[in-house]
């Protein structure tokens, strides 16, 4: 008797609606939560058919449920819609179990209904926010893409005009004018790289980057990039040693871009007059290129994060401005080639950026 009283108390204090019915579907018990959830008082529903709670278009669900119960099966967490007394629809999660008599025959069913309207609202809100973030992110990429393309058109004219002016200069032009033009050209070049980087970052994050794969001489490409930089930054000394491959299948322009990023990073964070080492090596099925400087170094805590998009180490941002996408782009290009890019560094002692490229891969 006491046990039954405890069970009755549990049922009445439950937040879930607990209802029992006969095998024919007539309601035999109804707890307080059921009153709150469906709006009917106990005396209004006892003896009524369960279909008063079922919207017309879902009446066939009851046949399916009764069928399972008759076969002794349990239905768990069945998400459906039920009808309140006031005509409102209510999303619920339903668990239905057969109720057996002492001799084991099935005489009815117990139903536990949980109101999931809040849960669904939260899920919907989450989905809406996710969609919003995704749309905004797409819009951002599209905007950067369009803006950088638009910026390049006048830049092309400026660049071409500068080159034309340089070519038209009389031989006796003063050194100062020649120098000024050369400096302007260097900065226009930089602006061009910056815009290209922005465009690349937007393309990479929207997954649009594609490689133009052709065979090329990787050793010669590295030497060429290093020589170009040596001319521009004559206070640094670049040393290349080793060999990688004179026949590599990959996107030459993209890999040149990686070399440029890594080398200009080394220059940026190393004092003038220092050495920058480029080491090329070839192992059985991949090649490895390392660039070592004796500059600022990268704190261990940031050694993974620096490859994230727009990541900048706060404390050095003021001294060394930049937008923080060079390493992100480089990492994505190396990944596209099925390789790996990483850094090893001790703060204050310099850094070694290395990447590997497999010699055989399917793009």
């Amino acid at each position: 008797m006491e046990k039954q009283a405890i069970l009755a108390a549990i049922i009445d204090s439950s937040e879930d609606a607990i209802i029992s019915k006969t095998i024919e579907g007539y309601i035999t018990s109804w707890n307080q939560a059921a009153e709150r959830m469906f709006g009917y008082r106990e005396e209004e529903v006892i003896g009524k058919h369960i279909s008063i709670l079922i919207p017309k278009d879902r009446l066939n669900e009851e046949d399916m449920i009764i069928d399972c119960v008759r076969h002794g099966q349990r239905i768990q967490h069945f998400r459906t819609i039920r009808l309140r007394k006031d005509g409102h629809l209510l999303p619920i999660s339903l668990t239905v179990s057969p109720v057996k008599s002492r001799d084991g025959s099935i005489i009815g069913a117990s139903k536990i209904a949980r109101d999931i309207s809040e849960l669904l609202a939260v899920q919907e809100e989450k989905a809406r926010l996710y969609e919003q973030v995704r749309t905004l992110n797409d819009k951002k990429d599209e905007f950067i893409g369009l803006a950088s393309h638009e910026l390049k058109t006048p830049l092309t004219t400026i660049m071409a005009s500068l080159q034309l002016t340089q070519r038209m200069l009389p031989d006796d032009t003063s050194h100062m004018i020649k120098n000024t033009l050369a400096k302007t050209k260097t900065h226009v070049d930089k602006l061009g790289y910056l815009i290209t980087d922005l465009l690349d970052a937007s393309k990479i994050s929207s997954g649009e980057i594609e490689l133009a794969v052709h065979p090329f001489d990787l050793n010669a490409m590295v030497t060429d990039v290093v020589n170009r930089l040596q001319k521009l930054y004559d206070s640094y000394t670049f040393r290349i040693n080793g060999f990688a491959s004179n026949y590599y299948m990959g996107d030459k322009t993209r890999l040149e871009q990686v070399m440029l990023h890594l080398l200009t990073n080394s220059i940026k964070f190393s004092p003038p007059g220092s050495m920058i080492y480029i080491h090329l090596s070839r192992l059985s099925d991949f090649i490895k290129i390392s660039i070592t400087d004796t500059g600022l170094g990268v704190d261990y805590a940031y050694q993974k994060k620096i490859f994230d998009t727009f990541f900048r180490v706060d404390e050095i941002q003021k001294q060394y401005p930049g937008i923080g996408i060079g390493l992100y782009i480089s990492n994505q290009i190396i990944k596209k080639h099925k390789g790996t890019l990483w850094v090893e560094s001790t703060i204050g002692e310099g850094a070694t950026f290395s990447f590997t490229l497999p010699l055989k891969y399917n793009v």
Binding site: T153, T156, T157, M159, A160, R167, T196, E208, E210
Partner: protein, 118 residues
């Protein structure tokens, strides 16, 4: 040996300056800002090389190159495509252009590519 170059770009600033730059290398240059007028001009002027932009309002550069490649007299005309988006390198090779250069370009690089096709 390439002497006559036809340039097609809807941006007239780029068109003019690129023309002057190539003239400074001694090439004879024709300019066409409207891509829909390009094919008849190529038929009558018979340039040795075509330098063509990709994104243009009337007919896109890649479509022009596709059409030129189908015609017998232009099927092997040396063509360099130039554009501000780097993915255009793929477009250029797909439609059968001989080479590609990104905008903004370095004139010495462009000239090397032209000489190589001569």
């Amino acid at each position: 040996m390439i002497k006559k170059i036809m340039i097609c770009d809807d941006d007239e600033g780029i068109l003019d300056i690129t023309g002057l730059l190539l003239e400074s290398f001694g090439y004879q240059v024709s300019l066409e800002p409207n891509s829909s007028l390009l094919i008849p001009r190529i038929s009558s002027e018979k340039p040795d090389l075509l330098l063509i932009d990709i994104w243009m309002p009337s007919i896109m550069g890649d479509e022009i190159v596709r059409r030129l490649r189908k015609e017998r007299e232009t099927s092997s005309l040396p063509i360099i495509m130039f554009s501000a988006s780097r993915e255009s390198a793929r477009i250029a090779s797909e439609v059968g252009a001989n080479d590609y250069i990104a905008k903004p370009f370095n004139i010495d690089d462009l000239n090397k590519k032209i000489v190589a096709l001569g």
